[in-house]
């Protein structure tokens, strides 16, 4: 076939290369725009903008820090299939973080990058579970199961939040988090119900992580304020709807995996404060040093 006979629309790769006259190429990292660009971001009447911003920071920081922890695993996972899975989960969470930090930033007058790279540890609102360093693959999948089962239950209700932007972000996240949770659940069962060694490591991971579960159900007032006002109990405290949804999922997975539910006491608060209040574990400083150092060394750089 000669080129004259060849309709250029027939070759998708030519189409991709056709009009990048401004020197940018997809995936070459030449700049990001606000992920909420073109979205109506007016805060509706009846929604407290300050509470909405704090809620989005909390949920955005959970996703940002968790994503960073997963990114650290990339190229160190046991199989190629797990590489793509963990990298994709990290990417989904980073996408959620960008949307949520943009929502918060629009209210606070700061960009998503400013919030991610130029806040200090005490200003981050993520829970301790997000910053935990997984010691092995068992901890990776157990922590992911706990985190995604909890976050999924929360996002299912936030999909009806009074703020339409947060509601849309949550609705989008539900489908992604369901994939993450089910991926983690299948691995927990495979390892828990596997060899003596894999069982022992998975039980040890569960025991090590369980003290971090209590914080998830403390019920942050800013997140509560964004839950839809509807009949039934929508709060995230212990003994409520979220806790029951989380309990049911964990119960099924642990029973199928032959794992014991730990009876560990929750990690003690520091003066009544925890991650949502900006009080973090030792791990957080190291995460932020890695996450923020390049942006802080070159504060005017664009990428």
């Amino acid at each position: 076939m000669t080129t004259a006979e060849f309709d250029e629309d027939d070759n998708p790769y030519d189409l991709l290369a056709e009009d990048h006259d401004e020197g940018h190429r997809w995936a070459f990292g030449t700049g990001f725009t606000d992920p909420l660009d073109g979205v109506d971001t007016a805060v509706p009447d009846g929604v407290d903008p300050a509470a909405l911003a704090r809620c989005c920071l909390a949920l955005g920081d959970d996703a940002l820090i968790y994503s960073h922890r997963l990114q650290q695993w990339v190229a160190r996972l046991p199989e190629l299939e797990e590489e793509t899975a963990v990298a994709n989960i990290a990417l989904d969470l980073l996408g959620q973080a960008r949307l949520l930090l943009s929502r918060a930033g629009g209210i606070l007058g700061r960009g998503e990058d400013q919030l991610a790279f130029f806040r200090d540890e005490g200003e981050f609102r993520n829970v301790a579970l997000a910053e935990h360093a997984d010691r092995d693959f068992a901890e990776l999948v157990v922590r992911l199961l706990i985190f995604s089962a909890w976050r999924l239950a929360l996002f299912e209700n936030l999909a009806a939040a009074p703020d339409p932007v947060l509601a849309a972000i949550a609705a989008k996240g539900v489908n992604e988090l369901a994939y993450h949770r089910d991926y983690a659940a299948r691995w927990v069962i495979r390892l828990g119900d596997g060899t003596d060694l894999s069982h022992a490591k998975t039980q040890a991971a569960l025991d090590a992580l369980w003290p971090l579960v209590g914080e998830l159900f403390r019920g942050d007032p800013d997140v509560q304020a964004m839950l839809p006002a509807s009949p039934g109990d929508r709060t995230v405290h212990h003994g409520t709807e979220h806790d029951r949804a989380f309990d049911a999922v964990l119960g099924t997975v642990l029973a199928t995996a032959g794992l014991d539910r730990p009876a560990a006491t929750p990690l003690a608060l520091v003066g009544g404060r925890a991650g949502r209040d900006g009080v973090h574990t030792e791990a957080m400083g190291y995460i932020l040093a890695e996450l923020q150092s390049v942006a802080r060394a070159h504060p005017d750089a664009t990428w």
């Binding site: 309709d7 250029e8 629309d9 998708p12 790769y13 189409l15 991709l16 009009d19 006259d21 940018h24 997809w26 995936a27 700049g31 990001f32 725009t33 992920p35 909420l36 660009d37 073109g38 979205v39 299939e81 793509t84 899975a85 990298a87 994709n88 989960i89 990417l91 989904d92 969470l93 980073l94 996408g95 959620q96 960008r98 949307l99 999924l152 239950a153 299912e156 339409p164 932007v165 509601a167 849309a168 972000i169 609705a171 989008k172 539900v174 489908n175 992604e176 369901a178 994939y179 949770r181 089910d182 991926y183 659940a185 299948r186 069962i189 949804a245 999922v249 099924t252 997975v253 199928t256």
Partner: protein, 165 residues
């Protein structure tokens, strides 16, 4: 190629997706609307995944294509709700996916209430190469967030399939 007289919709709709370049944004079902007003063209897109790195590039491509065709003042808007579902991939898009060796998605699960825990792999799609239904999923995530990996037990070929979402 864009021809004289093409509408703004035609031009925007023909923009290829960077990750699945055999599909246009129209095939993929992410193009919500194109309004050609006296004040300029307003294109509305719904992203596939929260972290999809292609969405920015798609917006830029749509804008460039319209501007090159003589449409001034192009605005690309993002609409997040309702979220994109793989059910929005058009019949033409599904045909193009199969032709490119990628299994199109089965219908997305419809649910009310909590998302049920799924511990078994969902039914595998038929092999896009030989058509055999005898396939198995080898990984739920593939090279991009929107696809899973499969292998055909009949012809032995590995293939990707778009996740039902």
């Amino acid at each position: 190629m864009v021809t004289a007289g093409a509408t703004a919709y035609d031009i925007a709709a023909a923009t290829p997706d960077p990750e699945l370049p055999m599909l246009t944004v129209e095939d993929l079902g992410i193009l919500r609307s194109v309004e050609d007003t006296p004040d300029g063209v307003v294109v509305t897109i719904t992203p596939t995944y929260s972290g999809c790195p292609a969405i920015r590039e798609i917006s830029a491509d749509v804008r460039h294509r319209l501007e090159r065709s003589g449409f001034g003042s192009v605005t690309v808007k993002t609409r997040l709700a309702p979220p994109w579902t793989s059910d929005w991939i058009t019949p033409d898009g599904r045909r193009k996916l199969t032709a490119a060796g990628i299994a199109p998605p089965s219908p997305a699960p419809r649910r009310t209430g909590p998302v049920p825990l799924t511990l078994t792999a969902p039914p595998s799609p038929a092999c896009p190469r030989c058509g055999s239904p005898d396939t198995r999923r080898t990984a739920e995530f593939s090279a991009t967030a929107c696809k899973s990996l499969y292998r055909c037990t009949a012809c032995g070929e590995p293939f990707e399939g778009v996740k039902p979402l």
